[in-house]
């Protein structure tokens, strides 16, 4: 006990700091749905630029491509999705910008 206290007071050495951070992180984490890549889950192998319904769900109102950190898409599929969106934009299936 005292040992632990001493270490804590001892000017925040690497070890104890890490511990504290972890604890704080533990408290802060709340239930969050684990994000999974839609294309991996649904086993979509080819993301077609013609499939407006699918693609449009990754293009929010503003017209920007939704980042991976929001949508949870894996890197491989985000790349394929990006290509599809850019093609779809060329033939006016998906907007470049809106408003």
């Amino acid at each position: 006990m005292s040992d632990f206290d001493n270490r804590d007071k001892g000017g925040g050495r690497g070890g104890s700091r890490d511990k504290d951070d972890k604890k704080g992180g533990g408290r802060r984490t709340f239930f969050r749905r684990r994000r999974v890549c839609k294309f991996c889950v649904e086993k979509i192998d080819y993301i077609s630029y013609k499939d407006v319904k699918l693609i449009a769900s990754f293009v929010p109102e503003r017209g920007k491509i939704q980042p991976r950190r929001i949508s949870g898409v894996c890197a491989t599929h985000q790349r394929a999705l990006q290509r599809a969106i850019k093609r779809a934009r060329q033939i006016a299936l998906v907007p470049y910008v809106s408003e």
């Binding site: 709340f30 999974v36 192998d45 080819y46 934009r89 006016a92």
Partner: protein, 154 residues
């Protein structure tokens, strides 16, 4: 001798285009493909669609899709010709055979690994009808109403 590849050609014409004008355009496209001894595998008319953004004065357009098997030289020619046609307000040619082949390979690989796993567990390689029904029933992807949104920290 150039290799035959698969391309998708989509073009947009104004919604007020007459049937004859569209047919005329399609025969022109066919004529070009024939010149390169290419074949049109499929033709799809998507009909009138709203454009995602305005192209010149147009807000709507008729989309036509051709799936063409032909050499690469055909694409440059098609692209050049379509740019000249006043009727066509937008067009795109995309090579699809490579991507489709990759997708096909991924599908077969996944199937093979799945049946291999099943065989290791002593099951028949293909899921039975019953299993398939069960799988769709136990939906545990945590998006149902029972999960609720527990906002805030706790």
């Amino acid at each position: 001798m150039s290799a035959v590849r698969q391309y998708e050609l989509i073009y947009i014409v104004p919604p007020e285009t007459t049937e004859e004008a569209l047919a005329e355009l399609q025969t022109q496209v066919e004529a070009i493909t024939q010149r390169f001894s290419a074949t049109i595998e499929k033709t799809e008319n998507w009909g009138r669609r709203k454009l995602a953004y305005e192209i010149g004065p147009h807000r709507d357009g008729i989309y036509v899709l051709h799936v063409i098997n032909g050499p690469a030289a055909l694409v440059t020619e098609l692209d050049r010709r379509l740019r000249v046609f006043d009727l066509v307000i937008r067009h795109i040619v995309v090579r699809v055979d490579l991507d489709l082949a990759i997708a096909e390979r991924a599908r077969t690989r996944r199937k093979a690994s799945m049946s291999a796993r099943r065989v290791r567990r002593g099951l028949p390689p293909e899921p039975t009808e019953q299993e398939r029904i069960r799988r769709s029933e136990d939906d545990d992807d945590m998006d149902g109403p029972e999960m609720g949104f527990r906002g805030g920290d706790r």
